[in-house]
Every structure is written in C-alpha cells, then in structure tokens.
Amino acid sequence: MKERIIYLDHAAATPVLPEVWEAIQPYFRDRFWNPSVVYDLGSEIREKIEEARARVADLIGAEAGEIIFTSCGAEANNLAIKGLALAHSQKGRRILVSAIEHHSVLNSARFLERLGFEMALIPVDEKGRVNPETLQKMLTPDTVLVSVAHASNEIGTIQDIRTLAEIAHANGSFFHTDAVASVGQIPVRVQELGVDLLTLSGISLGAPKGVGALYLRKGLRIMPLIHGGIQERGWRAGTENVPGIIGLGVAARILKERLPRKGPYLRRLRDRLVEGVLSRVPRTYYTGDPERRLPGHASFCFEGIEGEALVFTLAAYGIYGNTGSACASKALKTSPVLRAIGLPEVVAQGSLVLTLEEWNTEEEIERVLEVLPQAVARLRAMSPIWKE
C-alpha cells in the first residue's frame, strides 16, 4: 500500500530476527512434541528449552535456574508482583510502585489492594526519574516489595536501579524491575542492578510473540500465578510455547553479541532525529531524561495537536510511530506517565514516541525530518487551541 514503510515503533513489536525464524521453524510440524513427555522425543525438546533458558540467563547475567518462561511481559510482571507479595505477606503488606509503571505492574498492585494489601505510587521528577530519597521516605517496615521499571517505554528514561534496590534491600524489602524496555537495548546485568526479580518480554527482542520471562533470584520463593503441572519447575504451569521459547533463546544470544555496537549506532541516529525535530518544530517538548535514556528512544509532545491524528498523518507517508504506550493506546486517556512527569494534560495529548532499531537508517531519519514538521503544521492549522 505504501511504497516503503519506515517503521519506528519497535517498542510495540519487533519482527522476528532471521536467525530466530530459521531456528524455530522445525518446532511447529516436525518436532512438535510435548517437552513434558517421558520418552526421548520429549527430552529433545526439553533440552532445547534448557538451552534457551541458559541463553536468556546469559543475556542478563543470571543463572539458567533463575529464569522462568512466561507467555509475555505482562504475565511476568503479574507473576512477580502478585507472586512475591502473596508468598511474603507475613513480612508486610505494603507495596511501592513507581508512578510510571506499565499497566501490568500497576494493575497487579491494584489487585493486591483487593486482597488487603496497601499500594502507594512513588512519584517521579519532570524527567521521569525516581528520586532515591523519595523512595527512602516512603519505605516502612511492612513494605514487602518495591517495583520500578528499569526504563520507560514511553519516555525512555533509565532509572538508577542499583541505588533504588540497595535502599529497598536495606529496608528488608524485595525489589522488582520491569526491564521490558531496556533488555536488548542496553546492557542489563541482574547482579549489577542488584534486583530480586526482573521482567523481560520477547516482543522487543526479535522473538516471536507469546513469550516472556521472569528472572527470580535463586532461593527466592514466590507464589505461582498459573498453577498446575510442574512445567518451569512448578513456577508456571501449562504446555510451553516451544517455538517461542527457543526463539527467545536465539534472540538473546544474538542480542548479546550485537549490543556493544548497537547502542552507539542507535544513539547517533536518535540524536540526529531529536536535534532535527526540536530545531524544525516549534513548541515541542522532548519528554523524559535527555541524558540517561534508552539509545534508540525519542519521545515528544507537540503543543496544540492530538497524538493519534499525528500518527495517522505520518502513517499516510509510510512512517510508523506511536502515541503513548502501545498497550494502553486504545484507551482514550491521557497517558499517566506524561501526567506523572507534570506535563499539562493538553500538551500530553500531542505525544509521539519513535523507537529505533539497528536496521533503521540515516535516510529514514532524514525522511522523517522532512515529513514530521509538515504533519504537525497541518494538524495545528485545524486545531482550535493552536495560536501561532
């Protein structure tokens, strides 16, 4: 339909990597066996799953036994938050989550409120950062869990997880981080972050959809979310998404190799994009932290217009970006993340998020810089609230 697509919404979905696609194909029809069965065919599949587990663990500096495969990032977040709280409620019933968490963290905590837990939102500053002192003040003896996303998929800000986790641990609280946006973009090492639980998802890693993982620190106990058989050592029942898991393993291996050169490349592209947009489109906000942010992440708010209309205007030129979080974007509310960083609601309406990958090119960025200013201008011209 369009001559050529310039896809800049990699936070929402990535194509399956060629190597991953190659690797998973046999597991649909030829090697379709259930990994739980006792006979040799099942063992072959089980070995492949364990190989994938080792690779995912390797990507984040964990041990294989610390990885639990799930069906998506949302499930891993639910498992982490609910599972930890329910298993350790004797320690306390207070949970702290940052004000810019993904819905799957936020709503898991809300669910726990119904079971008698107490939940509080940790505010963030105008760059979306959790201030360690704020966390310190909000901790109480009965705070069992703190959850702060490693990086925001909406504004790109990277948190100082290590410091936050240390503060939580000093208080005897467990620490979870949602690293869906950061894994595969920047180095993520569980030891260095010092977290007890960490969520990742295949959607942003070039793995097939339908797979995610939770890192659960060795020896830590949680309550399963999906009870049943003894798959995933009893942490997560249900027949495994075999091609999904194998694919995630291959993707992890590839990403680990590529990470060192991917970061600088993305940062260069992104900086060109941001500099170009800010210099060509007046009254534009560059949201999030301009320094400590994901290398391929550019997020803006344009005064006077609404994000969906902008996304569609760009799409008419074959340029695909997003407005706010993909997962929430059908719900017609101002983004809670943009409200949390203190943007006026009317400004927050005009949000555009562009997330790059290593296959994006400089030519693509130049094309965006040509089209985007016109697109914004067109919508501003028809907006009753825009005054030059």
């Binding site: 709503n107 809300r110 669910f111 409120e113 119904r114 006077g304 217009i305 609404e306 969906e308 209309a309 569609f312 008419a316 059908k330 719900a331 017609l332 509310k333 101002t334 006026p344 609601e345 009317v346 309406q349 011209a381 028809m382 907006s383 009753p384 609230i385 825009w386």
Partner: protein, 168 residues
C-alpha cells in the same frame, strides 16, 4: 455500526477534511469538548431563512474527531435548523461507514458541537444569552475499551460489554 478499524471514508475525510476553518461573521458558534481530555470541536455556522448556508469548524482531536467534524459540516450544509438539530450521532457514524467502538463518542461530540452552534444562533436572535447550567457532578465512568460513559454502578460497558471493574 462498530468497525474494528477506521473505514476508508473516515480516513478519506481525515486526510482531506472539508470546510475546515473559521467564519469571522458566524451567526452561531458552538464549542464542545475539552482539550485536556484530548478532544475539542468548534463549529461556526451561517444561517439564512432557517437554513444553514455555511459551516466551518476547527477540531483538536483524534482521526475520528477530524473525520466526524468534516462529515458533519457536509451533512449540515443546506439543512434547515430543525433538520440539523435532529442529526444524531448514529447518523454521523453511519455516514462514515461506522466507527470503532472506542471512537463512538467522537460522533457524539460532532452532533453536539453542531447543535451548540444552532442553539447559540437561536439564543442570539431571541436576544438571550445562553448560560450553561452548573455541571452535574460526575456519576459516570468511562469504558476503557470503547470510551463510552457508563453509570458508575455498571459492571460491564453498556456499549461494548467490556468489564468495568476498577481492578482490571
């Protein structure tokens, strides 16, 4: 009436909105919505002999809001005030070949903006200034799926059946 995605017609109106702009010498002006909520429409009408002879508008909002405003402007032009006031949001959505559930309220907005402009005109000629009553307190909840307002007591969206539980 509900579509999974925007119809060709919606996209066509969005890409080429008709009658966009303002009327300096409008006989009636209607403004609805709230930019903080992400949607606002201002309609300008000119009236001759009880008929709308010209319509312009500005709109801040999503694809549907722009398409709705555009199609409303087309539908209104040439109609009598009574006909135009009778325009329901269903008529607008039908004219667009349907709307996604969660965009249904954009059609409501379009119908309302036009009606407000007509009421403004009528108030002007009857010499009364229209004073809007105080807002009623909100006893409503918005469906997260389709965006329709539901009574605060609803457990499922009346429009689309989505669960309205607080915790989900």
């Amino acid at each position: 009436m509900f579509t999974e995605k925007y119809t060709e017609k919606v996209l066509e109106h969005f890409t080429h909105p008709r009658n966009i702009g303002t009327l300096e010498d409008a006989d009636g002006v209607g403004e609805v919505g709230n930019p903080a909520c992400g949607d606002m429409m201002t309609f300008y009408i000119k009236v001759r002999d009880g008929r709308i002879v010209d319509v312009k508008y500005k709109t801040f909002g999503c694809v549907a809001a722009i398409a709705v405003a555009s199609v409303v402007s087309e539908m209104a032009k040439g109609r009598t005030l009574e006909e135009a006031k009778a325009l329901r949001n269903e008529d607008i959505a039908r004219e667009l070949g349907g709307l996604p559930k969660q965009k249904w309220h954009c059609s409501v907005l379009g119908a309302k903006a036009l009606k407000e402009a007509i009421l403004d005109y009528e108030a002007r000629i009857s010499g009364q200034s229209r004073e809007k009553g105080p807002q009623k307190p909100r006893r409503k909840q918005t469906c997260p799926d389709c965006g329709i307002e539901n009574p605060i007591t609803a457990r499922f969206c009346m429009q689309c059946g989505a669960p309205l539980e607080k915790e989900s």
